[in-house]
């Protein structure tokens, strides 16, 4: 039951993407003319080619993940060491912003982008994205730092290792699993984010994957060549299928840790 429920919409997309236009009008009949790869050829030959959107999303995803980690790691380290009052207040702030429906922010962020001239700049997108992921990242990483025994760091300090070296050689390797979970969750968020990408980027060769898909959907309700669109969704979904299958454990542990510590 669970399998059918989660998979059937995806399988239907795959089925549609391999169908000829004639077959689409009679989807439940089987005949020898119904299978084709034309839909895939079409989206890879389009201008700009569909791969371009995947590449854009990849650039945004990687840059945001790196920026988020660069800011969240030191912050979580000091939060794990902070006294009760500070860590309690920060936790409330982080939780409140993690729950916030970020759609409400898009207009102010758009004004911000205009003032800073960030429109149509893929790399600039990592600023709002890191901020939106910051609460989750800091919560997860702080929990991981707190689980480490204090003596270990003490010993390294007595050996004469400075803060940066302690972080680099002792602490970061120990919380690698938490870093991996955080990065994957941040990457998934940025890969899927829509409203901000929609309003910040308008050049069609720079738009990210979700925006490209939505543009397809918005073009026209009646003349929609659904086969090509289904092919686009399949190609867009493939990288995520891979990520989910490879990092399943890390995603689950990241989400559950987030829930338990929150």
């Amino acid at each position: 039951m669970l399998l059918i429920w989660s998979l059937s919409p995806l399988i239907w997309q795959l089925y549609t993407s391999l169908s000829t236009p004639e077959a689409l009008t009679r989807p439940l009949e089987i005949n020898e003319f119904r299978w084709t790869f034309d839909n895939y050829k079409q989206i890879f030959q389009a201008n700009p080619p569909f791969v371009r959107y995947l590449l854009n999303s990849l650039i945004v995803g990687l840059s945001s993940t790196i920026l988020t980690l660069a800011i969240a790691l030191p912050a979580s380290y000091s939060l794990a060491k902070a006294n009760n009052k500070v860590s309690k207040i920060s936790k409330i702030i982080l939780l409140a912003s993690a729950l916030f429906p970020y759609f409400l922010l898009f207009l102010a962020l758009l004004e911000f982008a205009r003032e800073m001239n960030f429109g149509n700049n893929l790399l600039a997108l990592c600023i709002p994205y890191s901020a939106l992921c910051m609460p989750l990242a800091v919560l997860l990483l702080t929990a991981a730092f707190k689980d480490l025994p204090n003596d270990l760091e003490e010993a390294a300090r007595l050996e004469g290792l400075g803060l940066i070296n302690r972080l680099r050689w002792i602490l970061f390797p120990l919380i690698k699993p938490a870093i991996a979970s955080t990065s994957i969750l941040v990457f998934l968020f940025t890969w899927n984010e829509y409203p901000i990408a929609l309003t910040w980027i308008s050049k069609s060769e720079l738009i990210t994957l979700p925006v490209a898909i939505a543009r397809i959907a918005g073009s026209s309700v009646y003349s929609v060549p659904y086969g090509a669109y289904a092919a686009a969704t399949v190609v867009g979904a493939l990288p995520l299928l891979l990520i989910v299958f490879i990092f399943q454990k890390r995603i689950v542990s990241g989400l559950t840790q987030g829930a338990i510590k929150g």
């Binding site: 669970l2 399998l3 989660s6 919409p9 995806l10 239907w12 997309q13 009008t25 989807p27 439940l28 800011i71 030191p74 912050a75 380290y77 000091s78 902070a82 702030i93 912003s97 729950l99 916030f100 429906p101 759609f103 409400l104 922010l105 898009f106 207009l107 102010a108 962020l109 004004e111 600023i127 709002p128 890191s130 901020a131 939106l132 910051m134 609460p135 800091v138 890969w191 899927n192 829509y194 409203p195 994957l209 979700p210 898909i213 939505a214 397809i216 959907a217 918005g218 659904y226 289904a230 969704t233 979904a237 995520l240 990520i243 989910v244 399943q248 689950v252 989400l255 559950t256 829930a259």
Partner: protein
Amino acid sequence: MNYLLLTPAFLLILLVFVLPLIRYSWMSMHSISVITGLDYIPNNGSNWIRLLNDDRFWRDTIQTIRFAAFSVSIEIVLAIIIALLLSQRIKGKGILRTISLLPWALPTTIMALGWRWIFNTPYGPIDQISSLIGFGTLDILSNPDLAWIATVIGDVWKTTPFVALIILAGLQTIPSDLYEAFKMEGGSPLQSFIKITLPLLKPYILLSLVFRLAQAFGVFDLIQVMTGGGPASSTESIAIYAYLNAMRFLDFGYSATIMIASFILLITICLFTWIFYNKLKSKLSI
């Protein structure tokens, strides 16, 4: 010195979460649109008076609440059932868990487009099957009374796995001794669910309830791609209306007013849910 490391993270949060709200409050007291040449002209709260008399805003509010209430409650019930199933010792649990994660990991726009095709008239599978068995085409997405149900289905499909994972994490914190002791005392499985599982799951259910309510209240991608707010604005959420005001009618002052109003509404709803939930729980545990 240590707190210096915290500053960038909290500055970023201040910049992206707090400043927008302050800015919206300021914008909501001004006229800012193409008519004013995008200059800020103070208008003594006429944005707010317009909002109070704006039927479209209130209809969208009711639609958003209906969408959020139905999808979140269905998601939580389904998620509890799925989490209970997944916590049993069954074969292939890992694969099952991976597959149930897929809907959550896919971009909303991709799956919204998929659902639009599934509900398509007359070529989508739902209408094909219903005309095969003689009901004719259902035409769900162009029926103002039914289209919102299709969006609820899309949302439930996407988000249930996420809620199920949180509930599952909660289930795994309950020691199995508790169940065994209860069984020895002669309690039935249903009783043990009500007396042990539900009360101990409470923080997890509450967390997912508040989180999902807040997210569903700001629903945008799903509806924009699936129905575009139609037919006849019947699926239009507050977020879509705010978006239209800013990007299509280019009335930024009014759009900011809608954002602030929906923020206040959301906080009120979350508070009420929390109070109601606590009352319900204390009644159940007696």
